[in-house]
């Protein structure tokens, strides 16, 4: 129970900042990937994608080939992302209706979806849509995790009270069971393999012990060299 929140919960550790987490994720995107980005840290990822890696960004409202904000005064009210923010289009973009947009998602045609999370369990369960007592809304989250082969989570390793978000079992309502394939936090990178978490990388300056102290979920380690 050492990692359960108590009066003696350790102070939140200092690892990567949000941009650094986004940059870390961006390094793993391969040329040619089609990717859907959730709000939060994931939206910062495109800024860090190398020039020689071409990624197609997908938005639930039917855009394949999202570009950046078109610049003040050039907004097109008929062209937004799923967060309803103005966007531009990359060359070779395609617009589809919502049924086709989710055919892309559910049919497994995206390569990766990068999402935020409230909690990720040891088995790769994800909770990221609803905090009981608040206003329920789901959007495309359940479709994304049900359909996408690779579900990468970007999140703070612990919440603002220092409570671990990598947990034994999710206490928040699930978005999907056993759907997460990777977790990127300010402290570490985990892969989900054979239904269990594997610590594969610690952030610079963060020790495996620090990671363990702030993680409730069980996991194995396979750190490089």
């Amino acid at each position: 129970m050492s990692s359960t929140p108590t009066e003696t919960t350790p102070a939140p550790p200092r690892g990567l900042d949000r941009d650094q987490v986004a940059a870390r994720v961006a390094r793993d995107l391969l040329d040619g990937y089609t990717v859907n980005l959730g709000v939060g840290i994931p939206l910062a990822v495109p800024r860090f994608i190398p020039e020689d890696v071409e990624v197609v960004l997908h938005a639930e409202n039917g855009v394949l080939g999202l570009g950046p904000h078109p610049g003040e005064g050039h907004e097109d009210p008929d062209l937004t992302d799923a967060g309803k923010k103005p966007v531009s289009l990359r060359p070779g973009a395609a617009i589809v209706d919502s049924a086709m947009s989710f055919a892309v998602i559910r049919g497994g045609h995206l390569d990766v979806t990068i999402l935020g999370a409230l909690q990720v369990s040891a088995a790769g369960d994800l909770a990221n849509w609803y905090v009981p007592g608040r206003n329920p809304a789901v959007g495309g989250a359940m479709d994304l995790v049900a359909g996408t082969p690779q579900v990468w989570i970007c999140m703070e390793h612990v919440d603002r009270k220092g409570v671990p978000k990598l947990v034994r079992e999710c206490t928040f309502p699930l978005t999907g069971a056993r759907v997460v394939t990777r977790v990127y936090t300010d402290l570490a990178v985990f892969h989900v393999e054979d239904g269990g978490l594997v610590l594969v990388e610690c952030a610079p300056g963060v020790s495996p012990e620090t990671v363990r102290r702030h993680t409730e979920a069980e996991y194995t380690e396979r750190l490089a060299g």
């Binding site: 008929d78 937004t80 617009i95 209706d97 919502s98 049924a99 947009s101 989710f102 789901v138 999140m155």
Partner: protein, 263 residues
């Protein structure tokens, strides 16, 4: 001659009875059929069950119907508007929350004569297990959404979802011709063609009406066979289209994640 252009929108829309099911296109203010929604409101239609992805961020369109108390039930994936939740928790409107892709597919299925389908989205969650509160009374859940049938295909659980056939569909298009062929512009397309497919009676408001030989037959997004009435709206695209209004975090509890962390 086939001519689906209408001058008298109110006259035709008045055929919608109170208590009707209404499929509505749009994604927030993007592609939202404001002229049609306003007309529905002006006509005093009430007790409506709306199928729409979100209420939006203001009191236009669906938000106006909500504020004026016209809604009996909302089926949506992401309502947004805080005042909608106030009505829901106060027991004045029912809420069926569905995954966004399921809503889109249910509209398409209903329009395509597919009675029901199995999707993996939402399997094993409170949106399929009967936990979600359809309505509140006295501050507590009063009725629940029925549990969805679950069945394994290829070793994975899938839930059975029904096609939606709505009494009326409200659609916002870009261009339309007299046969009812519609084109949309950019991401304002979203749910619009699907709402149009699933309506027993489909109204489309367009920004431009064009001659019947203008649209290339290869590039019709919603064929006229799905469309009953086309009206032209001079209303400009709302200036709020790209203004995002997020649900404010509760300042009393700092363990509650920010809206950004939730999706």
């Amino acid at each position: 001659m086939i001519d689906k252009f209408r001058q008298d929108l109110h006259g035709h829309l008045d055929a919608v009875p109170d208590g009707a099911t209404v499929a509505v296109g749009g994604f927030g203010a993007s592609g939202r059929p404001d002229a049609l929604l306003n007309a529905l409101c002006d006509l005093g239609k009430t007790e409506l069950h709306l199928y729409v992805n979100n209420v939006g961020e203001d009191f236009k369109g669906v938000g106006r119907l909500l504020r004026e108390g016209r809604l009996r039930r909302l089926t949506a994936s992401f309502p947004i508007l805080p005042e909608f939740y106030e009505e829901y928790f106060a027991g004045r409107v029912e809420f069926e929350l569905v995954p966004q892709g399921t809503l889109a597919e249910r509209m398409r299925a209903g329009g395509a004569g597919i009675a029901a389908f199995y999707t993996p989205s939402g399997a094993g969650t409170m949106l399929s297990d009967g936990e979600f509160a359809l309505s509140y009374r006295d501050g507590h859940p009063h009725t629940r959404v029925e549990p969805k049938e679950t069945r394994d295909f290829d070793g994975r659980p899938h839930v059975l979802e029904r096609g939606i056939r709505a009494d009326v569909a409200l659609v916002k298009g870009h261009r339309g011709d007299r046969k009812g062929n519609i084109r949309f512009r950019r991401s304002a397309r979203n749910f619009n063609p699907l709402a149009g497919m699933c309506g027993r009676l489909t109204f489309v408001e367009v920004e431009e009406i064009v001659d019947v030989d203008v649209l290339d037959p290869d590039d019709i997004h919603l064929p006229g066979v799905f469309v009953d009435h086309v009206v032209m709206t001079a209303e400009a695209v709302p200036a709020t289209a790209h203004i995002v209004r997020t649900v404010p975090a509760d300042p009393r509890d700092t363990t509650i994640p920010t809206a950004e962390e939730m999706r």
